[in-house]
Symmetry: C2
Subunit: 142 residues, 2 copies
Amino acid sequence: MKADSISKILKDSALRITPQRIAVLEAILMLNNHPTADNIIQYIKNAYPNIAIGTVYKILDNFVSKGLVNKVKTDSDSMRYDAVTEKHHHLYCYESDRIEDYFNEELDQYLNNYFIKRKIYNFKIEDIKLQIIGKFSDNTNK
Amino acid sequence: MKADSISKILKDSALRITPQRIAVLEAILMLNNHPTADNIIQYIKNAYPNIAIGTVYKILDNFVSKGLVNKVKTDSDSMRYDAVTEKHHHLYCYESDRIEDYFNEELDQYLNNYFIKRKIYNFKIEDIKLQIIGKFSDNTNK
DNA sequence: ATAATTGCAAAAGCTTTGCATGGCC
DNA sequence: GGCCATGCAAAGCTTTTGCAATTAT
């Protein structure tokens, strides 16, 4: 992805355009396995040896609060980040650390309708995310 | 819950019965909002001022590996623990930190069947967990 | 008896914070 | 120019680790 299109994404989110922000966003988009902050920092360091860890965390928080990036919950210590903002679910592989996106509008529709008919007492649903746990049949890490 | 029944649970899981383990398991069962390790430690300290933090973490790991307790992923820093081992999902309230269990066998059946018909390429599903995000209508924290 | 568990304290992550410097608009 | 973002280093939290002492079986 070109720096131009990334700049545009930042501008559209009313974020000041800085080289660090471009680098972080590009890293998340390139590293497709839902990178940790550390993955991102390592990736950036090639082109950008002086970037500060704190800066990356601040940028990530920033992106999250603007809805540009989402946090992905995992069982392990560190938070992972996801630049795909369309509604989707996740496939978790318990063998590798791989997490893949899973899109299925048909199922989302079904679940929406299901919970309209079958309300949960005392709870107003805003979103439903599936954690689909299992194993990839190949062994690549993409 | 009586110490007797808790001892039985430990014995059934082939775990050595110690006062610390009884206290931890009792705490998880009593604190119903999916407690953090720290919640558990605070709870235990009343009756048991000298319990070591490291011990509680070791006990929790132990319980998790025996399947007595499950870890619950959240957006926040700390892991939470769940003593309910039957298949269930979670309601996450984004306002409070409340997490409630949600059981629905009918829906589980449907999802099982759905994914038998509609396989995910390259992925073998072992379990599906719903994260149902929203808001409780009351304001209690139970 | 012996093997596992505990307590303690230190250390190891990951993430946040404060503040002076520098850069974007 | 003014304000916001960055770099740096320190500190905060949660969790893990190692080891000697203690306890369960």
